[in-house]
């Protein structure tokens, strides 16, 4: 009797397990997403759809422009979209006219780049058309694993390589950007006027809701055309109106960003907004006038203590953890019948202050020396000749101390410099030294010039 009961229970258990397995294995009917005019995106999971072509992207743009937010839907790129020859030219999201937030058609889905590249060539029509970006208007959006390449040409404000407007106000949900890589060239044709500044940013034009960026990096370029500028812009966020915007392991490593950028922030230009104090963000290329984040270097910099870290792009950098004074060897030589001590110096990274008795000079093409400011500052990025009175030379060196002060060098400085040793491909390079008679001057340098020294090149 007991044995029979056990057999019945065992059989029941088998039936249950079989039934359960059968339910899990049964195919679920997932359907594609029908967009406008019968265009359909293929599904890959429930409420999840593939973006596989420029046509798919354009159809999604039309769908959002028609007022569909796509909230609760996920879109995943299944291949690279666009190319240099056939780039994406449509933006997702739009608004009827400048400043009319109520007319905005915003994308509120989730976008998974799946490690693929979206190549764009986007252009804003005129100065009244802002937010030129692949995702022009979004709300509570999550974008991850996306690489955006190509070109953004902005006639208006708030251009970006990824998101134009990340939210209408602080009540909008969180805009989360994770593992995204922007390498677009943003070309600003917009000329800032008072209270209407460019406000461009590599990742977001304007952030108004909550925004977080994690493991994101920029290695594109900022350029201008005509009288365009990047005034009041940000390396990542052009205008940050959101509170506690957070950067987690983000990296700004622009190929070039030498543009007019008055009052721009290295990462964000915050107006009534703030950056979370726990942010971890790094920059290789300085941008703008507001320093934010931590400097990272590709070669050992002079004047900094560093530690090696792997940053968002997966590469190792020397990240600054402090500043240090620099002791420079100097050499005696006579000029105008007085013996002084001499050397040259250059670094792009850091300004230095000199002690009394040491002067910093730039030089014009005749060899005439000009003091830099009051003569006691070596500005970052300015190659100089240093001249020390004998009384201040200790053990054959002078000490340069890091400073936040700056000085404006005289125009026409022919001295050049580099933070790395450089080969001279054109012309003849000269470095400071003494000839066989012991007379000081710029003498032949050979085929390369040393790091952190000033030199001149003559054709």
């Amino acid at each position: 009797m007991k044995t029979k009961a056990i057999q019945i229970l065992f059989s029941a258990a088998l039936v249950f397990l079989f039934s359960a397995g059968h339910v899990q294995a049964a195919p679920v009917a997932i359907e594609g997403l029908e967009l406008l005019n019968g265009y359909k995106l293929e599904a890959y999971a429930v409420n999840s759809y593939k973006i596989q072509s420029v046509d798919d992207w354009n159809a999604l743009a039309d769908y959002v422009a028609a007022g569909n937010t796509c909230e609760g839907l996920t879109f995943m790129m299944k291949g690279h979209i666009g190319s240099t020859s056939q780039p994406v030219t449509r933006m997702i999201g739009c608004q009827a006219k400048k400043g009319d937030k109520t007319s905005r058609k915003r994308f509120a889905g989730a976008f998974d780049g799946n490690g693929k590249t979206l190549t764009v060539d986007l252009t804003s029509a005129d100065t009244n058309t802002g937010y030129c970006a692949p995702f022009a208007y979004v709300k509570a959006l999550t974008i991850k694993d996306l690489h955006v390449a190509g070109k953004i040409t902005a006639s208006g404000q708030w251009a970006s390589g990824l998101v134009g407007s990340s939210g209408n106000d602080a009540n909008d949900g969180k805009c989360s950007i994770v593992n995204c890589h922007v390498s677009v060239t943003i070309i600003s044709k917009y000329t800032s006027v008072k209270n209407s500044y460019a406000n461009h940013g590599a990742f977001i034009g304007i952030a108004e809701g909550v925004a977080t960026l994690e493991n994101c990096w920029f290695d594109g370029s900022f350029q201008v055309e005509g009288n365009g500028d990047f005034y009041y812009s940000g390396g990542f966020i052009g205008l940050n109106k959101a509170q506690n915007t957070k950067f987690v392991n983000c990296l700004f490593n622009a190929v070039s960003c030498d543009v007019p950028a008055a009052n721009a922030g290295q990462f964000a230009n915050s107006v009534n907004g703030s950056i979370d104090k726990a942010s971890t963000y790094y920059y290789v290329t300085p941008f703008g006038t507001k320093t934010q984040g931590t400097w990272a270097f590709t070669t050992e910099p002079i004047g900094f203590k560093t530690t090696t870290m792997t940053l968002a792009d997966g590469k190792e950098y020397l990240v600054a953890v402090g500043k240090v004074s620099v002791d420079l060897p100097v050499h005696a030589a006579s000029l105008l019948n007085r013996e002084r001590y001499w050397t040259t110096f250059y670094t792009a990274y850091q300004s230095f202050k000199l002690s009394a008795g040491v002067l910093a000079f730039t030089m014009d093409e005749t060899g005439a020396l000009f003091v830099v400011g009051n003569g006691n500052i070596v500005p970052a990025g300015c190659a100089v000749v240093l001249m020390a009175e004998p009384s201040v030379v200790k053990k054959g060196t002078i000490t340069l101390r890091t400073t936040g002060e700056n000085a404006t060098p005289a125009v026409g400085n022919v001295l050049k410099g580099s933070d790395t040793e450089e080969s001279v491909s054109s012309g003849t390079a000269y470095v400071l030294g003494v000839d066989e008679k012991g007379e000081i001057g710029f003498c032949l340098a050979g085929s390369s010039v040393p790091a952190n020294k000033a030199y001149i090149v003559k054709q």
Partner: protein
């Protein structure tokens, strides 16, 4: 009986305490009614020609220094190592080279009677740094800050009034006027600032009963709003034996250009109080030549 004893001790203690309090209060009142002692110090002071560079005027086509006191000017008084305070000048109505210097102070050293007092015009710090190059004028920084004159007097006390032997102030530096020209084309240089140094140039003096001098270089820098071509400086050259003195100039032009040069001041002019004009000090712009030669040593 025991209780009575305790009460008696407590009563005596209380009476004693009240007595103490009364005694202290009386003492306090006595202190507060004692009148404060005021000391009056009066010095009859004179400045002769070449004692104080106060103003520049032209006589017979030459600039000379005019010397006189101005009401309200200050003179610092030292007794031994101690700085006592400042006297204020009241000019003699009939002779501006004479003045009565006076002050009223709350305290005075016990040994003031017969003491030698050191009088320093125009302030209690003797420091030549920070000059701006403006011409001597009664209200100018050169006169009110850097044109030091010194006198020593002996104090005589009668009650709380101190008088002294007459004070004849002697100037302690020369006033220089400098202009700079390029050695090559002789053109005048628009100077922002210059730094002057020499073997015996004094930057400041300190007093610890004796004056001690610190030697070094002096910077004369115009304010950003100023663009004087001729700059004035008060310089004290302190030689052990009289000799010509070579001044070394580092000249910073208004356009960041930089020059160096020297000017020798003959020994005969190095008497304190002289006005020395050197309008054409020759200086040369520093240049580094380019050499088509392999360097023997690189910097």
């Amino acid at each position: 009986m025991k209780k009575n004893n305790i009460l008696m001790i407590a009563l005596l203690g209380a009476v004693a305490c009240v007595s103490c309090q009364e005694a202290f209060e009386i003492e306090e009142k006595q202190q507060s009614v004692e009148p404060a002692t005021k000391w009056t110090l009066t010095v009859q002071a004179t400045k002769s020609v070449e004692t104080k560079a106060l103003d520049l005027k032209t006589e017979g086509g030459n600039d000379v220094l005019d010397t006189y006191w101005v009401n309200g000017e200050k003179v610092a008084v030292f007794s031994g190592k101690e700085y006592l305070g400042d006297l204020t000048a009241a000019v003699d109505a009939s002779n501006k080279q004479k003045a009565t210097l006076s002050a009223t102070w709350d305290k005075m050293p016990d040994d003031i009677n017969g003491a030698t007092l050191t009088l320093l015009f125009p302030r209690n710090v003797w420091d030549y740094t920070g000059q701006t190059g403006v011409a001597p004028a009664p209200d100018g920084a050169l006169s009110s800050t850097y044109d030091y004159a010194l006198a020593t007097v002996t104090a005589k006390v009668e009650k709380n009034t101190i008088t002294t032997s007459p004070a004849n102030f002697m100037n302690q530096q020369n006033i220089y006027r400098f202009g700079f020209r390029k050695t090559d084309d002789k053109s005048a240089i628009s100077v922002h600032k210059f730094v002057v140094s020499s073997k015996n140039l004094v930057t400041l003096r300190t007093f610890d009963g004796d004056w001690k001098s610190k030697k070094g270089e002096i910077t004369v820098e115009q304010p950003a709003s100023s663009s004087l071509e001729l700059l004035y400086a008060a310089l004290r050259i302190e030689q052990e034996t009289a000799a010509d003195e070579e001044l070394l100039f580092k000249v910073f032009g208004a356009n960041s250009d930089y020059y160096e040069g020297t000017q020798t001041i003959p020994a005969k002019y190095l008497t304190n109080g002289k006005f020395i004009s050197a309008k054409s000090v020759k200086v040369e712009q520093l240049k580094l030549p380019t050499k088509n030669a392999v360097p023997a040593k690189t910097f």
